[in-house]
């Protein structure tokens, strides 16, 4: 099992960039890989309750469904603490399965061999 780190940097201002990380993450999770979607910058809003509702890029499943599939298939959803804090996002705002992490968690995961991909 390899470690796969998919970085999502966009929220609803770019539905395709918001959706693709979860599509890839879900493929990785369903291919028996340890998959993490790391949300940074505006992407951290994707981890908040209700935010993904209505984000639907043509040609993709609705984002809320893709996120649910990703989590149900064992994917991990991390939100960058340095990005959630200035946006007023706390643990209580997150969807079940998401968590706020620090840069040290990201570095640890990459130091352990995670391959990164950013959108």
């Amino acid at each position: 099992m390899a470690k796969i780190l998919v970085n999502a940097t966009h929220g609803n201002e770019d539905p395709e960039r918001a959706t693709l990380p979860f599509v890839v993450g879900n493929v990785a999770a369903t291919a028996d890989q340890e998959a993490v979607v790391l949300l940074t910058i505006e992407g951290v809003r994707l981890a908040t309750c209700g935010y993904a509702e209505g984000i639907h890029k043509e040609g993709f499943a609705p984002l809320k469904d893709v996120i649910r599939q990703f989590l149900d298939n064992g994917g991990q959803l991390w939100a960058c603490g340095a990005c959630t804090k200035p946006r007023g996002i706390g643990e209580a705002d997150l969807i079940p399965g998401a968590k706020i992490v620090t840069a040290a968690n990201v570095v640890e995961f990459m130091a352990a061999g995670a391959s990164p991909l950013s959108f």
Partner: protein, 81 residues
């Protein structure tokens, strides 16, 4: 790999034009319903399936034991590990 006579499948699923991000997660979901050693037939109209399914097979160890190309679709036979 190609077989003149495809292996007997225990179950079959037609995934139509599902591709890229949908195809292999759907296969995984259907495969969960089978027992180890059983064979799932996957029917796909997605041309890229010929790239994606073998890659997924190598990653997961669910062996692709046969492929049949037809004019508008292909059939993939996957043995559950």
């Amino acid at each position: 790999m190609a077989h003149d006579e495809p292996p007997a499948a225990h179950a079959s699923v037609d995934l139509g034009q599902a591709g890229c991000g949908d195809l292999t997660p759907l296969i995984r979901g259907r495969l969960r319903e089978l027992q180890s050693g059983q064979i799932l037939e996957v029917i796909s109209e997605e041309p890229a399936a010929h790239e994606g399914i073998p890659a997924w097979s190598r990653l997961t160890g669910n062996e692709l034991v046969g492929t049949v190309r037809e004019p508008a679709r292909s059939r993939f036979f996957i043995r559950k590990k």
